[in-house]
Amino acid sequence: MTTLTGPTTAHTLAALIGYHLRGTLKNRFAIVFGAVQPFLYLVLFGPLFDRSGVGSWAVLVPGLLVQLGLMSAGMVGFTIVFDQRFGVLERLRVTPASRVALLLGRVFKDGLVLLVQAVVIIAAGFFLGLRAPLPGVLLGLLLMVVLSVGMASLSYAAALTIKQELFAPVMSTVAIPLMLLSGALLPMSLAPAWLDVVSRLTPFRYAVEALRALFAGAYASPDVLWGVLVTSAFVVIAVAMGTRIFQRENS
């Protein structure tokens, strides 16, 4: 199979990302809607959080970004069910495009959409009083997009594996506890010991803490290192699993 660096794969990926992006842009409502939940948290919960003494906007906003990545990317699998039903997926699978490109074309598109949504959240945050250094914000966005790409891969894998009517309930049953355990809403430093331990067993906690450190300008902190390590491992495993499902459909 072609490698990721081959010119044909780049050409294939560009074509697929463009195609999926055009499909998504046709439904601007969905793009706006995807960012509504974190936006509401920002506007209606943010002012309370800011005055609660727990932390400032620079603590809340990174959490909301991870929440966005987890919840929005977690649901993207929905779209592939339609492609499967209308034969689009089979059509793509008989082309020479590599299986990993078929997956990456989708998840990179999702990453781009989430990036735009995240920028809107951050801009709104600045308006409300968020202060964070630009390099920290940019690095944080990058980490958040990587996390979303992993989550989106798992979402497609799940959508192709489990029964269609179970997809939404299963994904929210999995994503909501993971989101709560990540400390995205309130920092896990407030947690009782048992909850703290459970939280450390979930991957997204490390992303949340790394994002907070980046927004605080602490680029060389252990939190950032752990966040990058855990998130990288997560994305590699998730993309590998997604690709395997695209292949296994083949069997």
Partner: protein, 247 residues
């Protein structure tokens, strides 16, 4: 072009295909006939790399199906029984993506799409969405997808179901011309046996996952003392061929 030995496919406890051997030479048009549920689509999906056979081996377009599926894909085109176009994106975008996945540059893809649509009497549909096309237009579009990259071997799963007699005749005319001009090999299924009789160099009749008769239409008719392939089909499978045509 196709050499398959002992292909089988089991879904749970359904034995959809129970040991199919077949050989198709370059430039041949071969029809796979059989009642509903006989295993035609399953056979096609195995030969097009979409399904892994439970057992058996095959070489398709000179490449090993199991060891080298990517190379098989480069040489084949496939038109699925159920269609292959999403309902809500502009048809031109779907076709352009398809062309680019076979390595065409954007401008080349655009030109190719325009030319092919004109050839299939579909000029001007590029900006329309598939949901707004008639059933027959949609089917012709599926066929355009399969031909876009000029494959050596084309798999057509019930290509003419839903087409009016004129479009069916046009399609067969086009398939024949491709064969004469580019040496295209075609492996197709159909429930319209008079079509198979007129178009196919050879037909294979499958039933319950096995090939139960094969030969040129003329050979089959004389072997069974039948006037038409329909009669051959009836005596081999015990069923009327047209039962499936409505599906």
């Amino acid at each position: 072009m196709i050499h398959a030995r002992g292909l089988t496919k089991t879904f749970g406890d359904v034995e959809a295909v129970r040991g199919i051997d077949l050989d198709v030479s370059a430039g041949e048009i071969v029809g796979l006939l059989g009642p509903n549920g006989a295993g035609k689509t399953t056979t096609m999906r195995m030969l097009t790399t979409l399904l892994r056979p439970t057992s058996g081996t095959a070489a398709v377009a000179g490449c090993d199906l199991l060891a080298d599926p990517a190379d098989v894909r480069r040489h084949i085109g496939y038109v699925a029984q159920g269609g292959m176009i999403g309902p809500f994106s502009p048809v031109g975008e779907e076709l352009e993506l398809q062309a680019r996945l076979y390595g065409m540059r954007r401008t080349e893809a655009g030109e190719r799409v325009t030319r092919l649509l004109a050839e299939l009497d579909l000029s001007g549909v590029e900006r329309r969405i598939a949901a707004s096309l008639s059933g027959g237009q949609k089917r012709r579009l599926d066929i355009a997808m399969g031909l876009l990259h000029r494959p050596d071997l084309l798999f057509l799963d019930e290509p003419t179901t839903g087409l009016d007699p004129q479009s069916r005749a046009d399609l067969w005319e086009r398939v024949r011309r491709r064969r004469e001009q580019d040496g295209l090999t075609v492996f197709l299924t159909t429930h319209y046996l008079e079509e198979a009789d007129a178009l196919c160099d050879r037909v294979l009749i499958v039933d319950h996952g096995r090939i139960v008769a094969s030969g040129t239409p003329r050979e089959l008719k004389s072997a069974y003392g039948a006037a038409t392939l329909d009669d051959v089909f009836l005596s081999v499978t015990g069923r009327e061929p047209r039962e499936g045509a409505a599906a």
